[in-house]
């Protein structure tokens, strides 16, 4: 176990940021989002949830894959170089770490996505426990521990005026070794255990902690797809992509061309199944109503994905969509409404 005074964190980050790319939650114009560390930027470790999740770091919203040049001799293709240097992601929350495991199921399945793989392999994840989870959090429903992320290389706890750090992997221990100068050894981790217990006690009491996923998951396609509630659940949906873009597990993308005038960049960018052109083809569109698109998003997260991935849900309960949907629609309302429908049916 290591420890550093809160007041020394800027200096610590400066050391890390000088040695490698360092991603941190940055506060800019009133919002916290992930960004690359820079001494002039305001690091925000207090805000529980960044607006966008750190998904961006691994699967950027916009990412050029290759450039095509056209000459008389024909096309030449210049693929982009893959990330090859270790980099640090500092302050990622346990739910967002789990979200990477969810995205792994997609991007690392054969044939694997090399862009994602390179970033995933080179990342050193320093996860920060959620001292004060929010009302909208429901990570515990997916068996995520807000007090300790098992997927992180280093686990961190902010307790009083100190940040406690514990290496969990070789990579994490190596990182703590590399930057040990500012860290002090701390043998007595009793306060960390206390903090963990406190966090777990809070998450048990959160309003969504009792959310039941009974009735969702593998093989529930027929039952859920034809549920009459989709119509009213999606009534107010604006067909914007807010839920998709703030979601740490939504991974659908589009592939587009951008003519730079000196070569055509083929890039991929986040897409949303909520958008009307998501399934549009030259000849037809197989989802023409917003109800169908809305249903697709939740069926994918709660039925189709678990069916293909041993029951793993495509949601980590971060609650960002609950917080950000312009009209207050969200996955929890969907789960609860359908649960109610089941109860009524059974009664």
């Amino acid at each position: 176990m290591k420890k550093i005074a809160q007041s020394l964190i800027p200096q610590f980050l400066s050391c890390v940021g000088g040695a490698m790319d360092l991603f941190v939650p940055v506060r800019m114009s009133g919002a916290a989002n992930w960004g690359i560390w820079d001494k002039n930027r305001t690091v925000d470790l207090d805000t529980l949830k960044t607006v966008k999740s750190p998904k961006d770091v691994f699967f950027p919203q916009c990412q050029t894959m290759y450039t095509v040049h056209h000459a008389d001799a024909g096309y030449t293709i210049d693929p982009m170089k893959l990330t090859s240097q270790p980099f640090c992601v500092f302050g990622i929350r346990p739910c967002d770490v789990r979200a990477l495991t969810v995205m792994d199921q997609v991007f690392l399945a054969e044939p694997e996505d090399t862009f994602y793989r390179a970033r995933r392999e080179n990342a050193i994840l320093l996860s920060l426990a959620c001292h004060r989870p929010a009302q909208t959090c429901f990570c515990s429903v997916f068996s995520i521990d807000a007090a300790q992320s098992d997927g992180a290389d280093v686990m961190m706890w902010m307790i009083g005026q100190d940040l406690w750090l514990e290496g969990q992997t070789d990579k994490g221990n190596g990182f703590l070794e590399q930057f040990s100068e500012l860290l002090e050894d701390a043998d007595d981790g009793a306060c960390v255990e206390e903090e963990k217990e406190s966090i777990r006690a809070i998450t048990r009491k959160l309003p969504y902690s009792g959310l039941s996923l009974e009735g969702w998951g593998e093989g529930r396609t027929d039952e859920k797809f034809d549920d009459p509630n989709w119509e009213q659940l999606s009534d107010a949906c604006l067909a914007c992509g807010t839920c998709t873009f703030v979601c740490p597990t939504c991974q659908c993308y589009d592939i587009k061309d951008y003519d730079t005038g000196h070569g055509i960049q083929r890039y991929r960018c986040w897409d949303s199944c909520m958008y009307s052109d998501f399934t549009l083809m030259a000849a037809a569109n197989n989802r023409t109503t917003q109800m169908q698109r809305f249903r697709q998003r939740f069926m994918h997260k709660l039925v189709y994905f678990p069916t293909n991935n041993d029951g793993m849900f495509m949601c980590v309960g971060c609650g960002r969509c609950v917080d950000r949907c312009p009209q207050s629609l969200n996955i929890v309302k969907v789960i609860k409404t359908m649960e109610k429908g089941r109860e009524e049916e059974q009664a």
């Binding site: 800019m28 114009s29 009133g30 919002a31 989002n33 607006v51 966008k52 919203q61 916009c62 004060r132 929010a134 009302q135 909208t136 009491k205 959160l206 309003p207 009213q232 009534d235 107010a236 604006l238 067909a239 914007c240 992509g241 807010t242 998709t244 873009f245 703030v246 589009d254 587009k256 061309d257 951008y258 003519d259 960049q265 890039y267 960018c269 986040w270 897409d271 949303s272 958008y275 009307s276 052109d277 549009l280 609950v322 950000r324 312009p326 009209q327 207050s328 629609l329 929890v332 309302k333 609860k336």
Partner: protein, 330 residues
Amino acid sequence: MQELINRAKELLADGTVARVLGWKKGDFVYNPEPHIFTSAGELEKDFIYDGFCGANLSKYMIRASRMEGKTLVFLKPCDTFSFNQLIKEHQVDREKAYIIGVGCKGKLDHRKFQERDLGDIESISGIRMMDECDVVHVTTIYGDKADLPFADVMLERCHYCKTKDHQIFDEKMLGSRETTDKDGDRFDEVRRIQKMSPEERFSYFRSELSKCIRCNACRNVCPACNCLHCVFDNTNYDTAQKANADSFEENMFHIIRTLHVAGRCTDCGECSRVCPQSIPLHLFNRKLILDMDELYGEFQAGSDTQTPGPLTAYTLEDPEAGAGLERSRG
């Protein structure tokens, strides 16, 4: 609130309307959602109207206008400007709407509670329409308690309320309360930004707009953005929809959108309310409203269903082309 439910039930029962467009209780006090009610039972169980019902329901009436029968819609005073403007643009059918102009005592902004670390609201009092409250009492799930002046947690738009008079309605219910409480007017912030040096101004906008995630929430909520097919949804377009191929594109998206709604924007403020990144988008619209007011005389979109907007009418007194450019130099 019960009188709204009772009246809606009456109108449903006597066949005046086929459905009710209102707000449905959320699972937290601060997240009610727009909803179409079709039965008395549903209204009794889920209908709500309180300080968190900021959503402007006018745009949903485009869809409701194509449905069988009339729709009862609850519109706050500022929402009625949007509805009028939609009539002017032939997007909604007046005959398909039964409008209850509902009073407004100011609407709350959940983000302002979050900024004060009071976002995890377990219970709250003082937000119901019935209460003439000046103070909101909040208790969070962590047991933190605070008494906040209502005005401190109000949506920005309410501080510069255009009016508490409904511009169009079939009947009115519940009273309103004046919420305009700032010295000066709604253009103050625009004027402040106008006074910045070009570099300062540019960096202000770059900083705000670089947060944009192109989720299109501002566009999709905007009653003036009612094109069936948006220019940004054109897949042939290099700057299509969701992608910022370079960092200037989010600026372009917002500039084009602002210009497209100029003269039609009622300044309802929904764009800023819904922005997940809290970008003050309404300032763009206000800038154009201010410019148009100065060039063409004061005009409020949606104050009636007839008067042509400044950019769609021509008079001999209109300033010559280039007047805007000279103004900006001057």
